[in-house]
């Protein structure tokens, strides 16, 4: 009995320690990778990266991606229509890696990353003159400032505003 209990306690504490370690690693990872997004899908990268930087799935909620994917023939003024097989694969990838944060529910899902509250708060310190810079041209031109946008890395360390 006593022996069993000691054993149990031992196993239990080791298990707890392991769990704690695993959790803290997960958190540490989360911190580092907050702005490094999953961009590992070749179809998505070539199709959605042809006209602009391929905007990482983690920047919009799944409902927004679904709305974008169902309107590609009239996509922000461009025809971005796609064959059904590629579209299905891309939609699945976007949904799986979408932003899962809390979002204010609205009747219509936002289609622009640049109109999300998150984008606005992350860029609150960027002065108006930078947005108007012809080298930036559009807020959606992430790559003008995020030098590693192509690889899905939007961390602050790799930001360089053209001046």
């Amino acid at each position: 009995m006593a022996l069993d209990f000691t054993n149990f306690a031992r196993i239990f504490s080791v298990a707890m320690l392991l769990m704690a370690a695993a959790t803290s690693v997960a958190y540490a990872d989360d911190d580092d990778d907050d702005y490094k997004f999953n961009v590992n899908n070749a179809t998505w990268k070539s199709e959605c990266g042809a006209c602009h930087v391929a905007y990482p799935p983690g920047l919009l909620p799944a409902e927004s991606w679904r709305a974008i994917m169902s309107g590609l023939a009239r996509h922000f003024g461009s025809d971005a229509s796609l064959d059904a097989a590629s579209a299905d694969e891309i939609t699945a990838f976007l949904e799986k890696n979408a932003d899962t944060g809390k979002h204010k529910l609205s009747d219509k899902p936002l289609l622009r990353i640049t109109e999300t509250r998150r984008f606005k708060s992350e860029h609150s310190e960027v002065a108006a003159r930078h947005w108007k810079d012809p080298r930036v041209k559009s807020r959606a031109n992430c790559g003008a400032c995020h030098t590693t946008a192509d690889s899905g890395d939007f961390s602050e360390d790799n930001v360089k505003i053209p001046r």
Binding site: A50, H52, G77, D79, S81, D83, K137, G143
Partner: protein, 187 residues
């Protein structure tokens, strides 16, 4: 290899070259000296050299097929497919690189032309008119990946024509554009 593409004047035997073949088979601008534009005349006038090149090309092609079939189609095959399509239209007379060039550079709807993104020199790097994203050269001489995948070509003709003309391009227009792009020399 080169000689098997067709029996037209420019396409028989080893003594001719692919570009003459393209011109004779697909393009009716007789004045258009494609081979001069591309500056390959001197090489192809030397028959022995052409032979050597053909054999070399065969070896490379065979090796390429064995190792990795990099390209599904060649620009000439794409042009041939467009010609088949266009031939269904009554009065079709062949493709014109001259028409293709003016079509490419003319602004249609929305103040847009093909040049708006691909520039007036399709052998140069282009830039998306709205997003500034860089676009690799469109002319096959400058970018061998172009017009080597029928599905990709069809996809972009559909999209870009819709953007620039608010409609799809006709087979004639597409063929004219490709005929033009094939005459654009490497920078």
């Amino acid at each position: 290899m080169l000689g098997t593409r067709g029996a037209g004047r420019g396409c028989s035997g080893l003594s001719t070259n692919l570009l003459d073949c393209v011109r004779d088979k697909f393009i009716f601008d007789a004045e258009l000296p494609i081979h001069k534009l591309l500056n390959v005349t001197s090489i192809f006038e030397e028959t022995w050299m052409l032979r050597a090149i053909s054999v070399f090309g065969l070896v490379i092609t065979a090796a390429g097929l064995l190792v990795n079939p990099a390209y599904a189609e060649t620009p000439v095959e794409v042009l041939a497919a467009l010609k088949t399509e266009a031939s269904a239209t009554p009065g079709f007379q062949g493709f014109s690189a001259t028409h293709g060039e003016s079509f490419f550079k003319t602004k249609h709807s929305h103040d847009l032309s093909c040049s708006s993104c691909h520039t007036d020199n399709p052998a140069a790097q282009g830039k998306h008119a709205e997003t500034d994203k860089l676009i690799k050269p469109l002319a096959p001489a400058a970018n061998p990946e172009r017009f080597t995948d029928m599905k990709k070509v069809a996809k972009w003709f559909k999209r870009n024509c819709n953007d620039v003309l608010d409609r799809e391009c006709t087979p004639q227009e597409k063929g004219d554009v490709l005929a033009y792009l094939l005459t654009v020399p490497k920078n």
